[in-house]
Amino acid sequence: MMRARTGGAVGAIGVIALALSVCPLAAGGRTPGRDQSTDLIVGRYSDLVYQFRTGSPSAAARALARWPDDDVRRALEVVARDLTLPVGLDALAHQATPDTRRQVAEDEARYGGPASKLRYLKGAIGLHTVTAAASWIEGQNTLVVAHTDFVRVRLLGLAFDRDAAYAASWCRVEGALLTGSVYFGPALKHYDICLKHAPRDPWLLLGRGSTLESAGTVIAGLPPGTMLADWSGPTRPGVLAKAAADDYARALAQTADLDEARIRLARLQLDRGDLDTAARNLTQALANHPPPVLAYWAHLFLGTDDERAGRFDAAVDHYRTDLALYPRGQTAAVALSHVLAEKLGDRPGGLAVLRAHIAPDAVGRVDDDPWQLYPGGQVWCASGWLDDLERRSRD
């Protein structure tokens, strides 16, 4: 089971610290690094951090690119020592599989710049501007998330102590990436910890809700006696669905125009047969003119809502609207084919729609069918965050 963004997730995690470091911080100007040793390297790092925080990431990257590798390594060691991390970067990296190492290398190449220095740069900036995030993030890059809970707890606490808004934005992305990589268990722990610090953050609530919802769907299909790896949350799909719905509702209580939460909540309402409420929520979300992906979801769910209510012609209209939004949206095409062939008795029509969308030259990329983004649980808006991070990393 893989997610559309999974491939990018590993690498994207690596750029988070970089992007966070260029986000506006509460405190402006130069901030002394945590390390107060006499090692001169710390001062040079502080300069870099200052450049990043004052909006010159490219200049900082260029500066670091000129550093000798030994200086980069030494600087990171100093900072890591100061943070007394229980798990060092090298130890984490040592656990990486060959596939993971290759993925990391590909991602680093993709994001450009001297590979090792860029990685250290991200780590170092993260260390100085937020917390010891760098090691954690590098740990993520080695896909050993499950082994770093202690580090996660410690570092997240530090992050929120320093700058809650800054930390929350980081946590949203991290949670989405964990969920999108099908690490539902670690994602849930992550969100739980983050929400202790920011209990009303609508994006975190949305993220945890989508994690619970997706985990519930997967768990529902597991044979008795089996469970998701690293999962410590509820195990009954109904309980998970309710918990997800509660999170969506709480997110909407904070931000009523959070359309994604409203649409996801409606899908759960649809699942439990509350057709009228689901339709109201979906219609309300569409009235806000959400982005096309969310509109596609809403029409898909409205179509199903209509089908279940016996309004087959209305369902056809919704599926056709989806196909107008995404002409290669195979899920809407299959749904349309099904309602035509099985509900309206138009098998030739259903077959024609199906054939038109499953021919080799008609099958698009995963992104061409927004439904494919839904079941993995990664909130859709995270794509925008990631795109933004990637763009910044290239600047």
Partner: protein, 309 residues
């Protein structure tokens, strides 16, 4: 009538309408309300040959019917391979799957055709139904493994494509994973299976489900395990249900191997019996339960359990 009507079968040609059970005929015709029933008869897993119409007893909603026999030797088979090429199949498994598909194609007769549907997160009609073995081989060569698993929708697509065919259609589904993506529900696809005359055979390699598959095979009346609210049935349950509804079978691949398994499915299908009858003494629309019995003892009989009209 929602099952395929005999009147539209390509092979339908004139034959004497028999007032009673009779020996196999290569051709026949009937009224538009005629119903075709594809029946598998096995003994110890091996197809049983040599039965005549007199050996069968068919009831429609409990009313015994006069059946006619179709000589399947003259009826083309459309084999639609519906194969899972999600990420979990990549590598050696995919190579093994391709070899099995080629073996299945090799078991077809010259009059038969084949097509290939592949599915992962998306469904692709890799090779539309064709008599060209080269075209099918090229389509198989092009398969690669990646992505999620839209099993339910892939089965739906196979059923709909197969229903459009004018031959006997064997939908051979291969999957090794749990559905992770389908928007269509299992119930919706099972409903489509009830409306289709396509016979579905499936091979599931899902390791953790094998014991469950075995349990279902040993106790055909067992219901799918409860306790899956909010989600679909287990993959094996779904495949068991859809194969049973169509009169086909769900099989594990390991004995005697995937290629042999595929070939045995094709051979079993080729050796099935096709019975036809014009419903008599029954009326009304809706679900009609078909009961097929073989008068000889000790034989395993499989056919679709009914049809919609």
């Amino acid at each position: 009538v929602d099952v395929r009507l005999i009147a539209v079968l390509a092979f339908a040609a004139a034959a004497a309408a028999a007032p009673q059970a009779q020996a196999p005929q290569s051709v026949f015709h009937s009224g538009v309300d005629a119903v075709q029933v594809d029946v598998s008869v096995t003994h110890d897993g091996k197809p049983v040959a040599g039965l005549t119409a007199k050996d069968f007893e068919v009831s429609d909603n409990g009313v015994r019917q006069v059946v006619r026999f179709v000589d399947v030797a003259s009826v083309p088979v459309d084999l639609l391979l519906d194969v899972d090429v999600s990420a979990s199949v990549a590598g050696d498994r995919l190579a093994s799957l391709k070899a099995a598909c080629r073996a299945a194609i090799g078991a077809l007769r010259p009059i038969d055709r084949a097509g290939v549907l592949s599915f992962s997160g998306q469904i692709t009609e890799q090779v539309p139904m064709t008599a060209s073995r080269d075209q099918v081989a090229a389509g198989l060569d092009a398969l690669s493994g990646a992505g999620n698993t839209s099993l339910y929708e892939a089965v739906y697509a196979g059923l709909l494509l197969g229903t459009a065919a004018e031959s006997r259609t064997l939908l051979l589904v291969f999957s090794d994973g749990q559905d992770t993506l389908s928007w269509l529900t299992p119930a919706a696809v099972l409903e489509a299976a009830r409306h289709s005359a396509v016979v579905v055979y499936a091979v599931s390699t899902q390791p953790f489900a094998r014991s469950r598959v075995q349990q279902l095979l040993e106790s055909p009346d067992a219901r799918p395990a409860p306790g899956h609210p909010g989600g679909g049935p287990l993959l094996s349950d779904f495949l068991y249900q859809v194969t049973t509804l169509s009169g086909g079978r769900l099989l594990a691949p390991d004995e005697p191997g995937l290629a042999n398994r595929f070939v045995s499915i094709v051979e079993e299908f080729q050796n099935r019996y096709v019975l036809a009858y014009t419903p008599t003494g029954v009326s009304g629309s809706g679900w009609h339960t078909i009961t097929v019995r073989v008068l000889r003892k000790g034989l395993d009989v499989r056919s679709r359990p009914g049809y919609w009209r």
